[in-house]
Symmetry: C2
Subunit: 435 residues, 2 copies
């Protein structure tokens, strides 16, 4: 928890610096809100809550007799557990639209649940950390989100590359090669360039049904290289005939220019192979990778123009990112990047030598706590060895001793557990030393 | 969320000062862990998760044909939502016993779920904030918990009375009047003294089946008054014949003495009518009430000697308290005790006058954020009136203006939204002013 809180607190601090407001939504949503939003596979992975009471009362005979689990589900279950933070957020925005000031900048850090087979990196319960701006189509929001990503990972000490793409650039590519249905195949192929090389990628594209002409048109895209400005120039050339493509390039140039001016720590890279959530995003797409460790995307997001349309509120544009707390946790563990001060114990443990000593210790401990110093008294006057072993196991930085002689002199013996150094102090000196 | 976080953060800070370690447990527990722990009514109020996939496959024919919802439940549902934090904690302690250093001091702040009819003060999802010490039967733990209660409510500014009782005192009373099964009736009757008076209470006790002799023996208890030490003296007298009663009084005297020595802000009161969770607690019982507002118990807890017995680990003593965050929220609202600085917006909003001004604003905003000052740029160059109305609705304390002339002079105009005062500052002066 100490490690997880470090991640959550860091992300939260940055969210607040940028003026995002926190919301939480209930764990339970109506199944009618959740179903059909995550594809057929998603519907299966929803945890569904059995209705209370006599849930079989109105179940149709034929479903029971036929043991038709699939169709019985919505007769005996009306609620499900949150599957992500995006759909509940959309429901929230529509429900509270009269009370929200637009643009509405919200963040949300809560667990989500998926009825998946648990395995490394895939959990039934895990946290999402989302920040979204809705009600503004200004590209400055994209700039702010990239800047926020930079701040979070700079604070965590993780070197990153921020990859940017734009759905409209992808649409433009599909337009100029005349194969709008092949855009996923194309991005998958581009992504393999480094691994399998140009010839194999071209072969794969033909296999997927692209004409020789389309493959030829795609060549500049496959060998796209150099600085972002050079990539933009090549793409301008290639997408000359596509209005939507040019629009995408304008947006990309705007975001890159403004991000550039901020002088971020992160490397920012135009990557046309980026195609996450293709059906969902309508503009900018963003993904973050750690540079010093092999790990999938650790943060991602993009712009969507119709988040709330499905709940009857069309035309609300938004843009958001989601920090993958569990993967960030793995990266920090791998690179051992946690601050040394991340200790789950109080700052000092008072050894318990018996009734009178314990009572005197409690009074001193109360003073320390008023000064903001966490302190603990071992509750039983157990053997010294047992108490010291507790101090070791819990990693207390200091142990304080109020024995008979200290009681007499009104002092405390303080032992630094790292150096072994010991000092005899007055209670006031003790507070000062521990600060 | 700003108000709720204020409560959670205050409680959390105090938990940490006392050396409690945070844990979280999953929302889902096996139903076998949860069922039978909260009584028959509790079993009904558990949210149960429908098994994934073809859940009807192995359901017995007769249960389907008979529409036997009750007995079908455990054939089609294996998991349920956490109902409180205590049972999951007990499960956690048993499961991790090899890794835990005893005494184990844990705190846990998480939502719990109950399939109840929602109404004022009763929610389907609500937060519990628990702190427990297990593996030590020292009464110093009780002293620490009372001290912790005092710290939390002193920080929140709520005047409280801490009511203490001891299960063993209640057992002693039952013993001396020879009616061990009447102890709940007796505590309920004592609790009514102020409202209905001695005669009516005595009548009620006889109605409940107590003999005249028993009622006579109870009289000192019903008129118990004065300082805690006087109450202790009366009870000593009354419980002379009961060993368990004397033990309870010894424990109570110990806790009261030590709490007294700490000089708490809270009023601490021995109250023999306190009988919460009678079947559960085995020693000290504690309950907290706000003095300036009518509201039930806002915190409660006690000592239990067999928390983990039901999971196969007997003999582990523990003591814990639970802060009722939702009721504390209501008390703070009623008394309007939130700090004035509790604002959900960033500290300053930069008005957006167009491309060049926005770009210059972003650079200044980046400096402010590096200095720890939260700041926001209105993302669209909308009409001034719209932007100022956003600033008002979101309660920004300051608005910053970088218009044409400021751009020329390299300055920022800063407006204090409370006083209307306006100043022209350099970016460095701005950061200083906002700090």
């Amino acid at each position: 928890m100490a490690k997880r809180n470090y991640i959550f607190d860091t992300i939260k601090q940055v969210f607040l610096l940028y003026g995002f407001q926190q919301i939480e939504t209930p764990a339970l949503e109506n199944l009618s809100t959740l179903m059909g939003k995550y594809g057929e596979e998603g519907d299966k992975l929803l945890f569904k809550i059995l209705n209370s009471g006599d849930f079989l009362k109105d179940a149709p005979d034929e479903l029971l007799q036929g043991r038709d689990s699939l169709h019985l589900t919505n007769k005996i279950s009306e609620k499900g557990l949150r599957y992500d933070l995006t759909v509940p957020f959309a429901r929230f925005v529509v429900q509270h639209r009269a009370d929200l000031q637009m643009p509405f900048k919200r963040y949300q850090i809560q667990p989500v649940w998926r009825a998946d087979r648990p395995q490394r990196g895939r959990y039934r319960e895990f946290y999402q950390c989302d920040a979204d701006v809705v009600g503004s189509d200004s590209l400055l929001n994209e700039v702010e989100l990239v800047s926020m990503i930079d701040d979070v990972f700079a604070r965590l000490g993780i070197h990153i590359v921020v990859k940017l793409n734009n759905r409209k650039i992808l649409s433009g590519i599909a337009e100029v090669i005349g194969a709008p249905d092949k855009i996923v195949d194309i991005t998958v192929a581009i992504d393999k360039m480094e691994k399998i090389g140009l010839d194999n990628v071209n072969a794969e594209l033909r296999e997927k049904g692209l004409t020789d002409e389309a493959v030829a048109t795609l060549q500049p895209l496959l060998t796209l290289d150099g600085a972002n400005s050079e990539k933009l120039d090549s793409l301008r050339q290639m997408l000359q005939g596509s209005e939507v493509g040019q629009k995408g390039l304008d947006e990309m140039a705007y975001v890159l220019d403004h991000v550039d001016a901020l002088g971020l720590k992160a490397q920012v890279e135009l990557d046309v192979s980026l195609a996450r959530g293709l059906n969902y995003y309508t503009g900018t797409i963003v993904e973050v990778k750690a540079r010093d460790v092999e790990m999938g995307s650790i943060t991602g997001g993009g712009r969507y123009d119709n988040l709330t349309g499905v709940f009857g509120m069309p035309g609300l544009s938004g843009v958001g990112i989601s920090f993958g707390a569990d993967r960030i946790y793995d990266v920090l563990n791998t690179l051992n990047l946690y601050p040394a001060s991340l200790i789950a114990s109080a700052r000092v443990l008072f050894i318990n030598f018996g009734e009178r000593e314990a009572a005197a210790s409690l009074a001193i401990i109360r003073q320390l706590r008023s000064a903001g110093i966490s302190a603990e008294l071992y509750p039983d006057s157990a053997k010294m060895k047992k108490q010291m072993s507790y101090a070791n196991d819990r990693h207390f930085p200091y142990v304080a001793i109020v024995g008979e002689s200290e009681l007499e002199n009104g002092t405390v013996a303080l032992k630094n557990m790292a150096t072994g150094e010991q000092a005899t102090l007055t209670p006031a000196e003790l507070a000062e030393r521990l600060h």
